[in-house]
């Protein structure tokens, strides 16, 4: 009886130990693989290291889109600060001036190098943070 209980206790400890190990591995992997979301003002304040991939959300500034070959540059604004963005490729259908975008990429030497551009499949989309900010402006 006592032996059986002891065995069960060991089993329980082993299971707890293993799952704790598994969960911490997953959490560790999570922390190194997640993309933080910033608005232009937040990003300029935050002092981001250049090897760190982030998401930048804001509005495409009116009149700032400039295309040269397949490279496109534009300014993303939150109506307070602006960040220049460069991207090589075809932009999504809903990408246009004065509308919301979320950009995945790296901030290197004052230029945001985009890996991917998302424009939501909804013509009235605006990043949630901005809809609050714009109310104030």
């Amino acid at each position: 009886m006592l032996q059986a209980r002891k065995n069960r206790l060991w089993k329980l400890i082993l299971i707890l130990f293993l799952s704790a190990g598994g969960i911490s591995l997953i959490l560790f992997s999570l922390n190194s693989k997640l993309d933080l979301f910033y608005t232009p003002s937040e990003m300029l304040q935050a002092d981001i290291k250049s090897g760190y991939r982030i998401k930048l959300g804001g509005m495409v500034k009116n009149g700032s889109i400039n295309r040269n070959g397949t490279i496109i540059t534009f300014q993303v604004t939150d109506f307070v600060q602006e960040v220049p963005v460069t991207f090589d490729g075809v932009t999504p259908d809903l990408f246009k001036e004065d509308s919301g975008v979320v950009i995945l990429g790296y901030f290197i030497n004052g230029m945001f190098e985009a890996e991917e551009i998302f424009a939501k499949h909804d013509e009235n989309y605006m990043p949630p943070e901005l809809s609050i900010d714009e109310g104030k402006v």
């Binding site: 999570l30 998401k55 075809v90």
Partner: protein, 632 residues
């Protein structure tokens, strides 16, 4: 007027279901009356028919352009073909919830009426199902009413369906997916009824086996169609984005797959019964969690519907209570359920349980990936997102271990340990052959990627070991489980195709003026931009480019388009795809520059079709299992 009838029918269904519940909960202790169940069933069936007719009328309203109904007015249009008038019903929240409920009722109706009249679990299952249906009907009518009128005057013209949704694959994707999701309400309520009943001598596996298999097939088809649509319609060239909404569909799928495997084990060898029950409850709980994530708008995604806290709260509390109820009953009965039978290590069921654990681990990891941003945001206020790298690192070791267990378990026996000799005979040849194939891939492509090689290895281990087994058994005229072999080869093919796709596919961005020809690389020797034209179609304008390619010595002509829709002013891209056995040539047209030239995105996607083929194989394997003569 007709709209009100439809509305009223749904309301009456609510009334009848409430009656069923009150009637049974208050009088259930008076066991003597034999007609109680008959009467309850009659009431239940009638309420089902009320909802069916109500939905039928709603279909009619959509087809006949009744724009006085707010939902139809904002999602349909009189210019649409009838097919899309119907599918516009499930293009947004209210209507798709209606469809979801109709399917829920259809499954329940069919299942309950197929059960024998004197089945001991019939009454409890009926109660569980009535409770769930009632909860969702109330959710529909209280928070997301599709019958709402525009008063006093209806709209003259509808606002049209979102053009990216005007597509046959997307039209059938939600119904298939919903049929899968809600199909597991049967295992959920039947198992809960079994646990409540407390007579554990009863056999329950056989009664729900085929129902769950069919639901699994729908779920698989639904997910695949969604992925296929995203590939050719969204113009991103990808098929899976680890988007939160894709993840919440994958979780019930994994749970359902684990459930079916342990269902086979528990009916073969009497072990894992408790575990199987837990999984049977978990699948529907995860489906409900998915509905909450998608419909509350709590997570921002391509798929999510408009943000509405009221809906989220209702769904969360209702799904939460239902799940909690089932789990409480489960926990309460747990001590009585524990069977004394142990899993023999080295037996078929031991490997099967290992893979069950792996599937649960994957579900947990996905769950964490979906909820982690929410947790971080509510604690630290930071917005974060979790992308493919997380899932790739988590999944690659898991699938390799799973593949190894699948390979070993092929020749393992039920309830008996496996001799070491058999172990080596089954595992060594496929392992060597897979490693050799990877070496060949490495030499041929010159690409070395650990993650992809793990994926290829996992896929090939499964494919080779099943092929060997099939050939061996066919030559000896021994029995082979065809369904299992086909489905597992499908799974192996999926791992293989996804990994090959990830290392071989590439993308080129080009900039050309009409009439210009350039050379892209050794494979695409010639890219000739012939002409660009503006055409008019019924409800949109088309900009159509004519491009001809010399790809691997073969001439291909492609017509990528951009469409501008009249009603919404929305622009969509139509990628042009040329498919060959190994790869797709995928061309999207971008924007016009000031000097009159255009940008293009050319993607060469390898093994894409093999991914769809692998899903088809899995479904086909499952069909073979269902129609197999020998039961379980």
């Amino acid at each position: 007027m007709i709209g009100e009838i439809s509305h009223l029918l749904s309301l009456s269904a609510v009334l009848l279901l409430t009656l069923v519940l009150i009637f049974n909960l208050f009088f259930s202790f008076n066991k003597s009356h034999p007609n109680q169940l008959t009467l309850s069933m009659r009431l239940f069936n009638q309420s089902c028919w009320l909802v069916f007719i109500s939905f039928g009328i709603y279909l009619y309203l959509a087809i006949s352009d009744d724009f006085s109904i707010a939902y139809i007015a904002s999602h349909s249009n009189s210019q649409l073909p009838i097919f899309y008038k119907i599918t516009s019903i499930w293009s947004a929240h209210e209507g798709s919830m209606f469809l979801w409920i109709v399917f829920l009722i259809a499954w329940s109706y069919l299942f309950l009426n197929s059960l024998n009249k004197n089945h001991p679990l019939k009454k409890l299952t009926l109660l569980m199902l009535s409770l769930i249906i009632l909860g969702f009907l109330l959710f529909l009518l209280l928070t997301s009413n599709p019958f709402e009128r525009i008063l006093p005057f209806g709209a003259i013209e509808g606002a049209d369906i979102n053009p990216v949704l005007q597509d046959p694959a997307l039209a059938i994707h939600p119904p298939m997916l919903y049929l899968g999701y809600v199909g597991f309400v049967i295992s959920f309520s039947f198992i809960t009824a079994y646990l409540l009943n407390g007579n554990f001598e009863l056999q329950w596996e056989q009664d729900i086996k085929n129902w769950s298999l069919v639901a699994w097939i729908f779920l698989t088809i639904g997910i695949t169609l969604g992925s296929w649509w995203a590939y050719y319609e969204l113009g991103w060239g990808g098929y899976w984005f680890w988007d939160p909404v894709e993840n919440v569909a994958l979780m019930p799928w994994l749970a359902a797959t684990a459930f079916m495997h342990s269902l086979f084990a528990s009916s073969k060898s009497d072990v894992l019964k408790t575990w199987t029950m837990f999984l049977g409850i978990l699948i529907f709980a995860l489906s409900l969690f998915g509905a909450f994530i998608v419909r509350s708008g709590i997570i921002d995604s391509v798929h999510s519907f408009a943000n509405d806290p009221e809906r989220g709260l209702y769904l969360l509390s209702f799904s939460g209570s239902i799940t909690l109820l089932a789990l409480t009953i489960f926990a309460y009965r747990l001590p009585a359920l524990n069977s004394s039978k142990l899993v023999v290590s080295g037996s078929k069921e031991s490997f099967l349980s290992m893979n069950n654990i792996l599937m649960i681990t994957s579900i947990f990891s996905i769950f964490l990936g979906v909820t982690y941003p929410l947790i971080i945001e509510s604690i630290y206020g930071d917005k974060v997102s979790i992308g493919p790298p997380y899932y790739n690192t988590i999944f690659s070791p898991l699938i390799l271990i799973a593949a190894a267990f699948i390979m070993i378990s092929i020749d393992a026996l039920w309830q008996r340990s496996m001799p070491l000799r058999t172990f080596f005979i089954t595992t060594v040849p496929p392992t060597l052959l897979s490693l050799l194939s990877i070496y060949i891939v490495w030499r041929l492509t010159g690409i070395f990627s650990i993650l992809a090689f793990i994926g290829i290895l996992s896929g090939l281990l499964i494919i080779f070991s099943y092929l060997f087994k099939t050939i061996k058994n066919l030559s000896k005229k021994k029995y082979i489980n065809k369904g299992s072999a086909v489905a597992h080869i499908g799974l192996g093919l999926l791992f293989f195709a996804v990994s090959m796709n990830s290392i071989l596919s590439y993308e080129k961005n080009l900039n050309l003026a009409p009439g210009q020809t350039i050379s892209v690389n050794e494979s695409v020797q010639e890219f000739h931009f012939k002409d660009i034209r503006v055409l008019k179609a019924s409800n949109h304008d088309v900009i159509s480019a004519e491009v001809s390619l010399l790809h691997d010595g073969r001439e291909i002509s492609l017509n990528p388009q951009k469409r501008k829709y009249a009603t919404r002013g929305q622009i969509t891209s139509e990628s042009a795809i040329h498919a060959s056995v190994l790869k797709d040539t995928y061309l999207t047209i971008g924007d016009q520059l000031e000097n009159g030239s255009w940008t293009f995105s050319l993607k060469i996607n390898y093994f894409i079709k093999w991914i769809w083929l692998s899903a088809a194989l899995m479904v086909f394997g499952m069909l073979l299992t269902i129609f197999k003569k020998k039961a379980l």
